[in-house]
Structures are given as structure tokens and as C-alpha cells.
Symmetry: C2
Subunit: 418 residues, 2 copies
């Protein structure tokens, strides 16, 4: 392993051990200091981000959008750090489980995981949000961002570490890997004994690296082929509003809708109004034959969908559209093509909604709400370390609580086993 | 992949999907039927076990003990299945998390993990307990036991599958791999897309196989270098009773104590009485120099400890013994040599006990109770799939709840993201 990376990891491990002995108030003070530092350093951070953006001439629109920091987005990051500070301390939780017939009292108590490596791509806000959540949960984090955001990430890491020092906490609980060689990612993924959990956030090429090299436990933030199903009993105006938001409001992110499924009974009424609204916003549509009939009759432009379109994460103003003959076919389509990320139903039929919420396999299932809400902040976690699309350890947005484990605590008065 | 193994896994996956649609009552009925079948098949199971034991001439005492089924142990397995049946259904749990300012109501709902592969060594009761817990939690299981228990495991798997059929459930939710080639384990560990979680239960050679070949998520049931610390403020009679139980009651299992740490202030009083009681039961002791002084003065026989002894899982009537100068040194010793499995303190000092419970890194920490209680049944889980010694997904004994994940369920009335 690269000696500099090894030092970052060993320092993080040692710092985490001392952080584990620090009380919640001091960790909260650290979070407050990070928010203060970030508020004060807006100009430097935006300048670093402008440099990154100036160099990012070969990025597509989605990547550029994810890279971009604005004053409003920075406000959002500061607010996220304060929300994490004000959220309950996950380490304070000790819960009673049971008293056994022999008198033993069994409890569970949350403990940190240790050192968490986060490997991410364009979004620089991950630097701060990951640091905030790991600090809240008593962990250390080692961050390895993408090269396109190198200056933004470095500026933000400096701010975070200054905040930690302000609060008397070891800066090493937030490690930052400046070396952008791909080999460092391979080393992080293989650092058994130094990394307790790796969270890769990115596209297919990063996930292939994980498949080939991961030796440490991994929680994947995988691709989001997110579905919106407009049921036969949907309110067409609500369907239009949610479809527009899910596709158009921020198309470059993982919880944006990629595929719209519309029940055949309501398609003639609902699909043209959704499609017209989309077309005004520049959305291009890849449509199945039954949808093509409906849109053709309504005079809305579209292209025919190919088989591959049902599995694509467009991350752009493109949507796949299919008219389904039944509720069950919608669920089957999501099972076959979804990535267990996000699925939403629009319907006034509570029974259909509950069936959908129970049977669709996704980290977040929504009824009468935009897919865009599958986000740690929006779901009340304050921020998120990523959205787990596998069921191991966490499923869906990971907040501070998902960065802990529960040990068993047993209190007795001399019990022995018979 | 071996075609027969592939078919077992594919059948398990398909059967799990249909099990996911079955209600809790029918899963409970399946558990009841398994318990009935097992009660009725005692003679056949014991006969198969006797055949395994007759062939197991090269096993050590610990392995032989783990392999052995007795009428009492079979009673325990039947009771465990009924306890799992009567425990709350983890899939019924939907809990309210929060209502957001925009009116969205956020819930979490438990879902099964999918297909779980359990690779285990000598203990045949794992066949039944793993099947019971996966059925309770809506999962499928594929079992690959050790060759020494082949006949016992096959007999138990037949009983379990007959019980499933009695209750109208697909027998394929419990897959049983009869082929004992090592290559099948390698294939199970690499079966991405077919196996959602692998639980290896075994010694160092199995764990090396996992390190080299695992591509699916793994929760390890690792070695148990378990510690008992007799604090300065211990009740000597209680210390003797717990030390005796922790070492002697069943030395071949993972939660048996391996290392005894005794505070120097109480060592002259507590250590000789523990050692005399152990010596009567045939326990041999590997003792550090300070302990040697105490035991020498008391006239108890012992050997000097080597450096390696502090990291050994003896699994036999051998114990490492060290006299420590302080509470802090005891905690440091456990941090350095423990396997995050089990650690217990004996003390009348509540403050010392709480410091120990908070600061020792182990899946189960106990105050005034034997290490032998770190067991799913003893801690109220009904049974266990293994004891996780890493913090990912589960930490400590894994019951039915640990075989599920929580998805986010969101109910709205048309919310879109601004």
C-alpha cells in the first residue's frame, strides 16, 4: 500500500479510538464548528469549485450539475451539518430487550463501525455530509473523491478539519486522499484491518472495480433506475405534477425517475398531459408500442423505445415510457428492470397503494409523492452517506444510525449456564 | 458452477419469492410442522448421528462434542424451533419514523434478505435452527454442512423439508447441498445474483476460503477468544462459579472462556480457588509470571503461558490466565487479544461494570454472568444463525430479525420536491 495512504488510514484508526471516548456534546460541538467554518469559507469554496468547473469541459450535463456548488447549495450543506448536529445521538441509544427466566437482563447498545472509506465521484457536498455523519456516529472517515471535483473537495476537507480542531477534536478522524491514482481506490477497497466499511458511490466503472478488488465490507450506492407507476385510479393532475417533478427537477441525480409506467385504463387521459408538460421542458421520450398509440393520437413527439431503454439510468432529460395492461404487470416490470433504488405509485386507491408498498422491491417505495424524496435529508436523516441498494447492513439512505452496530449488553447477578 | 448446485440455488430463489407472499400464520404453521416432524423422527436422526460418530475417529474432543446429538440436545432443537415459531414475526414490523414539514409520512418496513447460504462445520443442529430462522424471516436458506456430520445433516434436512410440505410450503426454501467437495463452497461464496448473504461458521481454514473467494456479502461467525475479567471488587465465590461455568460447562463451543484475567488486588484470594476448582475438573492452565507467583504460593499445578496462548481459541479444558495490575490493563488486553466475540466482568462495583460494558469491544459484554450466555437462545432470540463477530449488518447472535432489512415506505398526498 502507498505509504501516504497507509498513514492516513492508521491515523484515522487511532483518532477513531479516541473519538469513541468523546461524549455526544463534544461531537455536537464539532459539528457546530464545521458549520461555522463552512459559513465563513463560502467564497474560497465557491472559488475552488469555479476552478473545477472551468476545467470540466468534457463532462456531460448531469455530471456538471452534480459538480456545481452554488450559494444555495452551500446553504443546504451548512443546514445539513446543523441538522445532523441536532439529530439524536445514535450512540446514546441503549434499549432494553428482555429479561430472561434466569433473571439476566438483555440490552442492545450502539457502537461505531470504525473507519469508513467513501469513494465518490462528482458531488463535492459528499465531503462535508460524510464527515458530519461519521462524526455524529463516532466513526472516522477517509474520503477519496473524483478528480473533476478535486479542488472543491480539498477546500471542503480543509474547512471540515479546521472545524474539528476548533472543537478540540482530532482532525485525523476525517482523512482526505489527495492522490487521484486509481490504484489508491484499489488499495482502499482491499485494506482489511484498516477499513471497516467502504461505501462506493458512483457508476458502473467504479462498481466493476469494487467487484474485482473489494476485500473489506462494502455497502453499495448503486445506480438508480427509478420507476413511477401511474395507476388506473390515479388523480391525473397529481400524476402530471409528480411525473414532471420526478423527471425534470434535477435529472442528473440517482433518485430522478427514469421509467414511467401508466395503466392502460388511464393512459389516454394521463399520458398526453404528462408528455406535453415534459415536452415543454425538453424531455425526450422512448415509448413502447401501446404508449406510442396514445401519444400518436395526441400528437406528441416521441421515439420508439428499444429493449435496452428499460434498464437505462438516463440521468438526463430522457424518459422511458410504457403503458401496462395491469397493476401486476407494473410490479413485474419494476422487479425485472428496477435497481432496488426507488419506486413510486400515484393512485387514489388505498388498497392498490398498500399492495404496491408491500410488494415492490426497492429501498424506498412512495405513494403519491415524487421519487426525488428518496434522500437522507428529505426523509429526516439530516444528511446521507449514500443510498444502499443492497439489503446488507442498510437499505436506502444511510444516516448516522446506519453507521453503527448494536452489541449485546447483559447484566446479571452471578448466573451460570446449566 | 456445478449444475446441481445451480439448480438448488435457482429453486431456492424462486421458492423465496413465493414465500415472501405467504402470511405469518402460514410460516408459523411451517415451523410447528417442522417441530412435529422432528419429534417424530428422533430415532432416525439419532441413528444417523450414531453413524457419523462411529466414522469420526480422527476428530478431537471438541469437534466430537459438537457433532454429538443426544435426546436432550434434540429436545433443545425442537424447543428452539417452537421458540422461533412463537417469537414475533419480524416482517410484521412497520414502524413510523417521522412526519416531514411537507406532510410526507415516513415509515420503515422489514423485508427478507433473499437466499442465505450457510456453510458450517460439525454441529448438525445448525441445519434445523438455520432453516427455522430463515423461514420465520421469509428467506430461503441453502445449507452446506461439514462431511463429519453428513448423515445427521441429511436426516435433519429431510425432516425439515417434510415439515414444510406438511404446511403447504415449498420444500425448496430449504436447500441442502449433499456434494461435499470444497469447490461447492467456493461456488456458493461466489454466487453473485443467486446468494444474497453467506454465513460461514467455522475455523481458520474456512475463513481463509472466505477471504480468497467471497464475492457475495458475508457475515462471519468467527473464532471466539472469549475473556472473563475478575475485577478487584469481585465477589470471590461468584467469580469462582462463573469461571468454572465459562470454562468447563461446554469447552468445545465458541462462547466458552479461553482467557481469565484477574486483578492483582484480588488474585491471592480469588485465583487459587478458581484454579483448584478447575484442576479438579481437569483444566490445565497457562499462566503469566504474576499469576504463577500466586498459584505457586497456593500449591496449584500450572504451565507458564507463551505469547501465543493469549490469542488461542483452545476449545478444550485449557485456559490462559493472567494477573493484571489494573482495570485499564484488562480492557487493553481484551482489545489486543479478543476476537470481538464475548467478554465478561465479575465485580460488585457498578461503576467499573458500566465502564467495562461501555468500553470493551465485543459482540456481547456481560456483567456478573458466564460468557456461555452469548447465544441466540439464551439471549431470547429463540435460536441463532451464528454469532457475527464483525459489525456489518449484525453484531452478536443473529436471530430472525437480523435476517431482514428495512426499506423506507413513504405516504404522501401529491408532494413534489422544490
Amino acid at each position: 500500500m502507498d505509504p501516504e495512504l497507509k498513514k492516513i488510514l492508521e491515523d484515522a484508526k487511532a483518532a477513531q479510538r479516541s473519538l469513541a471516548r468523546v461524549d455526544a456534546a463534544q461531537r455536537s460541538a464539532g459539528l457546530g464548528a464545521i458549520a461555522e467554518r463552512l459559513s465563513a469559507a463560502r467564497a474560497e469554496v465557491l472559488a475552488a469549485n469555479a476552478e473545477d468547473l472551468a476545467r470540466a469541459t468534457d463532462l456531460d450535463a448531469a455530471m456538471t450539475d452534480r459538480l456545481r456548488l452554488t450559494p444555495a447549495r452551500l446553504d443546504g450543506v451548512v443546514a445539513a451539518v446543523r441538522a445532523v448536529r441536532d439529530a439524536p445521538d445514535p450512540l446514546a441509544e441503549e434499549r432494553f430487550m428482555t429479561q430472561r427466566p434466569n433473571g439476566l437482563r438483555v440490552f442492545r447498545r450502539r457502537v461505531p463501525l470504525g473507519v469508513i472509506a467513501v469513494v465518490f465521484e462528482a458531488r463535492p457536498n459528499v465531503t462535508v455530509e460524510a464527515a458530519a455523519l461519521t462524526l455524529r456516529s463516532g466513526n472516522a472517515v477517509v474520503l477519496r473523491g473524483g478528480k473533476e471535483a478535486a479542488r472543491s473537495n480539498a477546500a471542503l476537507a480543509d474547512v471540515v478539519r479546521a472545524g474539528l480542531v476548533d472543537a478540540g477534536l482530532p482532525a485525523e478522524v476525517v482523512g482526505f486522499v489527495r492522490d487521484l491514482a486509481r490504484e489508491r481506490v484499489v488499495e482502499l477497497l482491499g485494506a482489511t484491518g484498516l477499513v471497516d466499511l467502504a461505501i462506493p458511490r458512483g457508476g458502473a466503472s467504479l462498481m466493476r472495480l469494487v467487484d474485482a478488488h473489494a476485500r473489506v465490507p462494502v455497502v453499495r450506492h448503486g445506480a438508480g433506475v427509478c420507476h413511477l407507476y401511474v395507476d388506473a385510479a390515479a388523480d391525473p393532475a397529481m400524476a402530471e405534477s409528480i411525473a414532471f417533478n420526478a423527471k425534470v427537477q434535477r435529472p442528473g441525480v440517482c433518485n430522478a425517475m427514469e421509467t414511467l409506467l401508466v395503466h392502460a385504463d388511464i393512459a389516454p387521459e394521463a399520458l398526453p398531459r404528462i408528455a406535453r408538460r415534459w415536452a415543454e421542458a425538453g424531455v425526450s421520450m422512448r415509448v413502447d408500442p401501446r404508449g406510442a398509440e396514445v401519444l400518436g393520437a395526441a400528437g406528441v413527439a416521441f421515439e420508439p423505445a428499444t429493449d435496452e431503454d428499460w434498464d437505462r439510468e438516463f440521468l438526463s432529460l430522457t424518459a422511458a415510457v410504457r403503458v401496462v395492461p395491469s397493476f401486476d404487470e407494473a410490479v413485474r416490470h419494476i422487479d425485472a428492470h428496477g435497481t432496488q433504488h426507488t419506486a413510486a405509485i400515484v393512485t387514489q386507491d388505498a388498497q392498490a397503494a398498500e399492495r404496491f408498498l408491500a410488494s415492490v422491491e426497492a429501498s424506498c417505495v412512495l405513494w403519491n409523492a415524487s421519487t426525488r424524496f428518496n434522500d437522507g435529508g428529505e426523509l429526516g436523516l439530516g444528511a446521507e452517506m449514500g443510498i444502499s441498494t443492497s439489503r446488507m447492513h442498510a437499505f436506502g439512505p444511510m444516516g448516522a444510525r446506519e453507521l453503527t452496530a448494536e452489541k449485546f449488553v447483559v447484566r446479571g447477578d452471578g448466573q451460570v449456564r446449566g
